[in-house]
Every structure is written in C-alpha cells, then in structure tokens.
C-alpha cells in the first residue's frame, strides 16, 4: 500500500524510531496525518482522521463522539485559544490486537505558535486506537492524559 507517500520518506525515520515494519508505519500514518492537519489548523482534516463514530477524549471534560462533534470542537479551538498552535509526539508503543486493530501510544503535546519544544504544562501521553477500514487506518478513539507533574492543561 505504501508507495511514495509521506509514510516512507527517509526524514521520517527519526519519527518511527524502533517501529519500522511496513505494518507499524502504516498504522503510524494516523498520527502523522493528524499532526499534518493540526499544523494547518484544519479541523476537517483532524475530524477526517477519525472513523464516522470515533471518540475524542481530552483532560478537562472533553468527550466528543463522531466526526461532526470533533469537527465543531476543533474548529472552535483553532478559531480561539489554539490558533496557530501545532502538535507533536513520538511513538513509544505500537501493539497490534489483530490485523485490523492496533494501539499506539505517543508522548507529545501542543506546540505554542512559533515554538519547537513542548512546554511542561502542555505535555501529554496519548493513546490512539486505530482500525483499518477499507484499507485505510482511521482513529476509533483518541485520548490524552497529562504527562508529568507540570502538565496542567485542561480543555
């Protein structure tokens, strides 16, 4: 499935770390797509990373179910407090439940506009529950939790 897509560009080697099998890289295309959509502050792109009934859970009473709810939530975030922000993260765990379901864990966080380092208050531990639908990996569930004592961000 991977030809000359962004999933096998050599500059991504550092991103993949130890998760270098084709299968692992395919599953990791989900966070890569989301990071790319976020960098454009593209709410539709973020929502489209999810399955139709995908779930987004963030610290601070955010529970969004379905692409429509996720789209509205992200559009408001990019119009307001998260305008101009980016997001980053590196995989620390990739586990396949079977050929159609995988769990990814990443350590990352939001990048304030113009920043390349994550501020301690924005650091998160994320779990990505990804499923393969019609040959494409999608997010069935995304949850993040504060990482480190200084991680105070609540949405």
């Amino acid at each position: 499935m991977t030809t000359t897509t962004e999933a096998n560009r050599p500059d991504l080697d550092a991103y993949y770390g130890p998760f270098t099998s084709e299968k692992e890289k395919e599953a990791l295309s989900v966070p890569l797509r989301l990071v790319a959509a976020w960098s454009r502050n593209d709410a539709a792109g973020v929502a489209d990373s999810f399955t139709e009934d995908g779930i987004l859970i963030l610290p601070g009473d955010v529970y969004k179910k379905g692409r429509d709810e996720i789209y509205s939530f992200m559009a408001a975030a990019y119009a307001g407090p998260f305008k101009g922000t980016g997001v980053t993260g590196n995989p620390v765990d990739v586990r396949f439940v079977n050929d159609e379901v995988a769990l990814l864990r990443t350590h990352g966080g939001i990048l304030a506009p113009g920043e390349t380092e994550i501020a301690p208050e924005l650091a998160v531990r994320s779990t990505w529950v990804v499923v393969k639908r019609d040959g494409e990996w999608k997010l069935a569930g995304y949850q993040n939790s504060p990482r480190g004592a200084g991680a105070t961000l609540r949405w």
Binding site: D53, I55, I57, L58, P59, G60, D61, Y63, K65, D93, R95, V97, N98, E100, V101, L103, R105, R125, T127, V129, V131, A140, G141, Q143, N144, S145, P146, R147, G148, A149, A151, R154
Partner: protein, 161 residues
Amino acid sequence: MTTKAASRWRDATEILEAARVAEDHSYYREFVSDDEKAVLAVPQLIQAAWKANDPDFFAGLFAENGSLLMGDEQLTSREEIRAFMAKGFAGPYRGAYVKGYPVSVNFLHPDVAMVVTGGGIILAGESEVAAERHIRATWIIVRQDDGRPLLLSHQSSPVTG
C-alpha cells in the same frame, strides 16, 4: 476470519459467577446486548478487585501485555500492574475502591471492544468520587479463545481534577 460461532463472548453472568462477583444489573445502563454485557463484566470485575484490594485479582483481568495508565504512571505488563497495585493497596489505596458507569461501548472487531466509562477512585473514609478524582477512561477489551474478556489497555484522564 473467525466464524460467528467461534467469536462468541462468554456470558456476562457466567464470567462474574466464575469470579464469585455479584452481577450488578444496573451497571449496564442501555448496553444490554449479550456482547455488550460480556465486555462490561470487565469493569465490574475491576471494581470488585478494588473493593477486595486484591492485586492478583486485579492484574489477572489484564492481558499479559496489558497496559494501564494510573495518573502519570504508565504500566506496560500484567506483572508491572500487579506490583504497582500491590504497593498501592498496601499504601495510598488501602481501603480505596472505584465506582464508574459506561458511557460508550463500541465493537471495533468481533473480538475487540472499546468501552468508555466515567467514574473515579473513592479513597478510604470518602463516600463518593471527589470532584478532583473524577476521570474518564478508555478500555480496550479483547476476547480470548475461551470467550473470556481480558483488558488490553486502560487509560484515564481527569475530568474536573
């Protein structure tokens, strides 16, 4: 591809009886199909393991490579979970228990469910989940060959804390 007969989850009542845990019929809310009840046996078992402050019971509900995020502590195997909870039940979690309720039950595959719950830890001496301990959790529950559900991943994040 597994056949329908081969992918059946064990009956919730049987799962709970086998663990000598009283089934809480009100726990299921609107998730009352046989398969939904089977996977919701897992959070009921986790609640029972907390109530008993029993680290072996607790860890045994996880897959061998199961993961658990407790606060900022990421555990990545049944053994790590057992050791962490043994310390916890002997220390800060002595007498503590958890209470929760299902918010969403999704089957990602005939053998894999994603459950979202709300709830939290009730420390010794408390009678309900304190506001700062209210969490939302995602559970990935996987069907074993014998139909028994095991917990592959549990992550929580603060709601009001």
